[in-house]
């Protein structure tokens, strides 16, 4: 049991890193969709959010549905709505701390500027996410096997000591 537990910790850490990368990719895809919609048809945020809520899955669907509901109510600023949605759905288990900060910053400025600035903002966010994803991939390559091995080794070590 000790052996399995420790191994799972190592494998879990690797899975979490993979999850960060997967979600970062999803965020980039969402950004690209937003950019496309803003560029192509001057679409407004409620429509874009609705499209993303329909196409999203899991936590992301919840995030955009929550946003959509808040937009319909119009009772708080977009920035604060975004932050509340993040607190509720974009939790640390799924998204890395750095990515969350990038996403939060993006939401705070979304909607309020002109079209050019919206696109610049989305591009900047995309670049930051790409950079962060590159870092995560390198980390996974460098430390992935190490985490797994350490997990198994620490399990064995504990077993030896306890036995």
């Amino acid at each position: 049991m000790i052996m399995t537990g420790c191994s799972l910790l190592g494998f879990g850490k690797v899975e979490q890193m993979k999850g960060y990368i997967r979600n970062s990719m999803l965020m980039q895809r969402q950004l690209m969709e937003m950019t496309r919609q803003i560029k192509a048809g001057f679409a407004q945020l409620p429509e874009i959010i609705e499209v993303l809520a329909k196409s999203g899955t899991g936590k992301w669907q919840g995030f955009y549905s929550y946003m959509g509901e808040g937009i319909r109510r119009r009772e708080e600023s977009f920035g604060s709505l975004w932050e509340h949605a993040m607190e509720k759905y974009v939790v640390a288990t799924y998204i890395g701390k750095e990515e969350r900060e990038i996403w939060r910053e993006f939401g705070l400025h979304l909607g309020y500027l002109d079209q050019e600035m919206q696109l610049t903002l989305a591009k900047l966010c995309l670049e930051q996410l790409e950079e962060q994803m590159g870092r995560r991939k390198r980390q996974l390559q460098e430390y992935g096997r190490l985490y797994q091995t350490l997990g198994i080794a620490s399990g064995m070590f504990l077993v030896v000591i306890l036995v």
Binding site: A43, Q44, S77, G111, D114, Q115
Partner: protein
């Protein structure tokens, strides 16, 4: 429904002020929100300050002082969090928002090559609320039709007196029912039809084609060529280019229904553009509206020679909203 819609356009604090019982939201004309200054409304033609505790007041000290956040929130809510989508309109100093209301914006204007490129640091907004539709009785329409033909008509009034509302109602009347005509509308400021994504939000009748956000001269020419309307309607004729386009329409036999600023027939005839139109006899009917204290009320209808049109033995009356509550126009 309309009331709730208005509330959704302004900041949360201002919603509370507007939620006071003594505020007749149905009769509101304007909500003026200026940073650091008292919140002001225009209701039934009168200006009032607004307070959260006391409602309508003339006491400046009691009024709610507008915060920077109120302006920002109002911009966010009225643009549905999408200010960027109103970029072109903002350059003209206003945005037509949900429900056909118009949000005027003031702030720091950025110029680029002699043209306005943006307005930033918004210091104040004026939410001009779309007026209720005016139900036109046949009496008024009869004044505008002569021998079965629509007489080119110009609606004259001071700003805020209901020109556009009346224009919209005439369009609706002309383009609906048995003897309907096809009407082309050039809606330069999205005020007549309040189009959202090309589809009118306002009740403007069935046989109507709208060119939204298009300059008047270009729009009139485009409509004439592409849609062959019986009548073309435009709001606020203002310069020689507009006059040239109107001349072209008249030459082609297309009817014209337009509005212009002017407090009286004399004002109109003195105006640079008005003088040309008057001398050339472009319009066969002039509808003069009363001032903004009585929005939608008709002061008089005049023919091409400036004679007041009289219909003896008939009288028409209006309630506040400019509804024709009875019979036939007397004049």
């Amino acid at each position: 429904m309309q009331d709730e819609q208005i509330l959704k356009l302004v900041s949360l604090e201002i919603r509370q002020c507007l939620g006071r019982k003594d505020v007749e939201r149905g009769n509101l004309q304007e909500i003026r929100i200026r940073c650091g200054r008292p919140l002001e409304i225009r209701e039934n033609g009168n200006l009032y300050y607004l307070s959260k505790e006391y409602g309508k007041t003339q006491e400046e000290e009691l009024a709610y002082m507008v915060r920077e956040e109120d302006v920002k929130e109002t911009l966010e809510f009225s643009s549905k969090y999408s200010l960027y989508a109103y970029e072109q309109e903002r350059k003209c100093g206003y945005m037509t928002v949900e429900g056909g209301h118009r949000l005027g914006i003031v702030g720091h204007v950025w110029m680029e090559n002699g043209k306005i490129s943006n307005i930033t640091y918004v210091g104040g907004v004026n939410l001009r609320l779309a007026k209720k539709e005016i139900e036109l009785k046949p009496a008024l329409m009869n004044c505008l039709i002569k021998n079965g033909e629509f007489e080119n008509t110009l609606v004259l009034s001071m700003p805020g007196a209901g020109k556009t509302t009346l224009l919209r109602s005439i369009i609706a009347q002309l383009s609906t029912g048995g003897g309907r005509r096809t009407v082309g509308v050039v809606d330069e400021r999205s005020e007549i039809a309040a189009c959202y994504r090309g589809v009118p939000n306002k009740e403007i009748g069935n046989s109507v084609d709208v060119l939204d956000g298009c300059l008047k001269p270009e729009g009139m020419e485009m409509l004439l060529r592409s849609m062959s309307p019986d009548v073309i309607a435009v709001d606020e004729l203002g310069n020689e280019r507009d006059v040239q386009a109107v001349r072209e329409l008249v030459r082609c036999g297309c009817g014209i229904l337009a509005t212009m600023h002017g407090g009286s027939m004399e004002d109109f005839q003195r105006n640079r553009v008005g003088k040309i139109l008057w001398e050339e006899g472009v319009f066969g009917r002039y509808i003069l509206l009363e001032n903004k204290k009585n929005p939608g009320r008709i002061k008089g209808i005049y023919d091409e020679l400036g004679r007041r049109i009289e219909y003896e033995n008939y009288r028409v009356s209006f309630d506040y909203d400019g509804m024709f509550t009875s019979g036939i126009w007397k004049g």
